[in-house]
């Protein structure tokens, strides 16, 4: 029963998160329109910079999705929890530190990995 309630709460939270995500993007687009009225050249330059960044990081995000999908498929939930969960102690902490040092890529992909990992554990 509790698990079911947890699942419903998670679903509601995820829906709210999705909605907020769209509100945020809408707000940024409105900001762009306002700034375009004051300085069109710089705002267009910002669009170009952002487009270039999106193209640069798209393959990294694709890799993140594939990597997280593979983890989801191959690694057992209990095993991940045992090695990286709260009960793992210093070993889990050390593993996380080393993984962080070896990882490379946009800051946002790290946040995304952590989120998916938290959903999993």
């Amino acid at each position: 029963m509790n698990e079911m309630k947890k699942g419903v709460d998670k679903g509601t939270k995820n829906k709210a998160r999705g909605k907020n995500s769209y509100y945020f993007l809408g707000g940024v687009i409105i900001l762009y329109f306002i700034l375009f009225l004051f300085d069109s050249a710089r705002t267009l330059q910002a669009v170009k910079i952002s487009g270039k960044t999106i193209i640069q990081v798209a393959p990294v995000f694709l890799l993140v999705i594939i990597f997280m999908g593979l983890i989801e498929y191959f690694l057992d939930k209990k095993m991940i929890s045992r090695h990286l969960g709260e009960s793992a102690g210093i070993k889990g902490w050390l593993f996380a530190v080393i993984a962080g040092i070896l990882s490379h890529g946009p800051f946002m992909s790290g946040i995304l990995c952590l989120r998916i990992y938290r959903l999993r554990v």
């Binding site: 707000g27 999908g69 989801e72």
Partner: protein, 143 residues
């Protein structure tokens, strides 16, 4: 016995989680583009007074607001050093660029929770300033 998910389903699940965050990620990239377009290196250099202590704090704050590829922070850091900004400030700038993300804060809050995101970023700003002192003093002792 619980049936194991197929590989395709696992990949779809990961893609679904990503898709949920996608509008926020695009919004943050657009904000970073605005920042890079409207704030030049000259603007950043003008914020430093020449006092190592206040410059270190200023650099921590600027690094926190800035974002993007880490390589950019090395280029800007080098330019700031050439303009005579102290090594304390440049180190704090590099550290906060990597560890703090004010523009990315909405994404971090949405993914990992408000309390965690705010505390992590605040401690990142303070520790960047503190770490820069340790790094530069250690460098002076070694050199």
């Amino acid at each position: 016995m619980k049936k194991k998910k197929s590989l395709l389903l696992s990949l779809l699940q990961a893609a679904k989680n990503f898709a949920q965050a996608l509008p926020m990620i695009v919004g943050i990239m657009l904000l970073l583009g605005l920042f890079q377009s409207y704030v030049s290196q000259e603007h950043l250099a003008a914020l430093f007074s020449g006092n190592p202590f206040t410059d270190t704090l200023t650099a921590s704050l600027i690094g926190s607001i800035s974002g993007g590829q880490v390589i950019n922070s090395y280029i800007i850091g080098g330019e700031l050093l050439d303009k005579g900004i102290s090594l304390f400030a440049v180190t704090a700038f590099l550290l906060s660029w990597v560890t703090v993300g004010i523009i990315q804060l909405p994404l971090e809050i949405s993914m990992l929770g408000k309390g965690f995101a705010i505390f992590r970023n605040l401690s990142g700003i303070i520790l960047a300033a503190f770490m820069s002192l340790i790094v530069v003093y250690t460098l002076q002792v070694i050199a």
